[in-house]
């Protein structure tokens, strides 16, 4: 299998995630889109690893996974406290963070 096919898939998934992040107003779905982008980057790293015949790409993907897990924990906690004070999960309602 040509490694470019995996990279193209990864690019499509990354673009889809970016689209979701830009057009969705629900903070949870925007956050899920970020996860989608991280996953597509992982796919690219793993296919690089396969193409080049060494395991460093897999190690990189492993670290991305660990950091993503930590990021999800903090991000969801922030969404929760914002929901608790503003009673809304929409990113449009968080306009008090502006100034």
């Amino acid at each position: 299998m040509n490694p470019a096919a995996y990279l193209v898939l990864s690019a499509i998934l990354f673009s889809t995630g970016l689209l979701g992040f830009l057009i969705r107003r629900n903070a949870l779905i925007a956050f899920m889109s970020v996860e989608l982008m991280l996953n597509s980057a992982n796919l690219a790293l793993i296919s690089f690893s396969y193409a080049n015949g060494n395991l460093l790409g897999q190690v990189g993907a492993f670290f991305v996974m660990v950091v993503a897990a930590g990021e999800v924990v903090i991000g969801l906690a922030i969404i929760m406290i914002i929901f608790r004070t503003r009673r809304s999960a929409s990113v449009d309602d968080q306009n008090q963070l502006k100034y």
């Binding site: 040509n2 998934l13 779905i29 929901f83």
Partner: protein, 298 residues
């Protein structure tokens, strides 16, 4: 010439469309739960692609960490934040949706063209790298606990700090003093004195109605609905039936039938009279000329 079709090719063409479909489903679903489900499916499909790329350790880690832990956290947060929070279609920035779609399409074309021309050589495969250390897990471990051991220790610290931070952030401070029994008695008595609210307990649902499920309101003796007999959450969600016509019609039908049977036995003719009386029964007293409200009430 028949092209060589490997198991990897089959896996790619099975799971790549699934992954793209899952990603699109995540972005385009109106309900957050459907989005989460699509994303979980996409992550499983990606995990299978990892497995086909000779990365069994990351395949298992993907399933456990992403579809197991991360998606579960998302679902739990969704449960707290509210499952039914659908997106508003109002654009805060005018034309943002169109502009971002065009920009993302352009980026996708750029990435796809660049990446599909970048690789000209075939993959080397990971058999050599995997067998050199006695397996994929051992090979990854050689790196993680070898040159990257310091980064690995840092991620351990990062996860610990993240867990602590989540506990601190999600911990709710008590903003008001806790209401004791004495306070509750005082508040209810004050409400009774000022607004005439009944200080007693709320009526249970469905006592006088046809069903005793929690989303059927109780009927008051005059045939109207006791709105405080059902949970306010159900009322807000629109699950509960608050129109009393449906509930009252059962009473009406039962009583009319009963009277009709009595008529047959005794030879009287009370059925129409009673039915007319039941139609008036419990109708709220409304000021004259308020026909619209009356229609709604009925």
């Amino acid at each position: 010439m028949i092209p060589l079709i490997t198991a990897q090719t089959v896996a790619f063409w099975v799971f790549a469309p699934l992954a793209v479909a899952g990603a699109l489903g995540m972005v385009l679903s109106r309900k957050p739960v459907h989005s989460a489900l699509s994303l979980a499916g996409m992550m499983v499909a990606l995990g299978c692609l990892y497995a086909s790329l000779d990365a069994p350790f990351l395949f298992v880690a993907q399933i456990i960490v992403y579809t197991g832990a991360v998606m579960m956290l998302f679902i739990f947060t969704m449960m707290i934040v509210g499952v039914d929070s659908v997106d508003s279609l109002v654009e805060t920035i005018r034309g943002q949706r169109v502009a971002s779609t065009i920009a993302v399409g352009a980026l996708a074309v750029l990435l796809i063209v660049a990446l599909s021309q970048g690789f000209v050589t075939a993959s080397q495969g990971l058999e050599g790298a995997n067998t050199a250390h006695g397996g994929n897990v051992q090979g990854v471990a050689q790196y993680v606990f070898g040159p990257f051991v310091f980064a690995f220790e840092l991620t351990a610290a990062l996860l610990l700090v993240a867990a602590l931070a989540a506990i601190i952030l999600a911990h709710g401070e008590r903003l008001k003093k806790r209401e004791t029994h004495k306070d509750r008695v005082r508040r209810r008595t004050r409400q009774y004195a000022e607004q005439g609210t009944d200080p007693g307990p709320l009526p249970g649902p469905g006592i006088y109605a046809r069903h005793n499920s929690a989303d059927y309101p109780a009927l008051l003796p005059d045939g109207s609905v006791a709105e405080n007999s059902i949970s306010p959450t159900l009322r807000v969600r629109g699950v509960a039936i608050v129109e009393n016509d449906g509930l009252r019609s059962a009473h009406r039908a039962a009583i009319t039938k009963f009277v009709a049977v009595g008529d047959e036995a005794a030879g009287t003719d009370l059925a129409d009279e009673v039915a007319a009386e039941l139609d008036d029964f419990g109708r709220p007293e409304l000021p004259a000329g308020d026909a619209d409200t009356e229609e709604q009430e009925r």
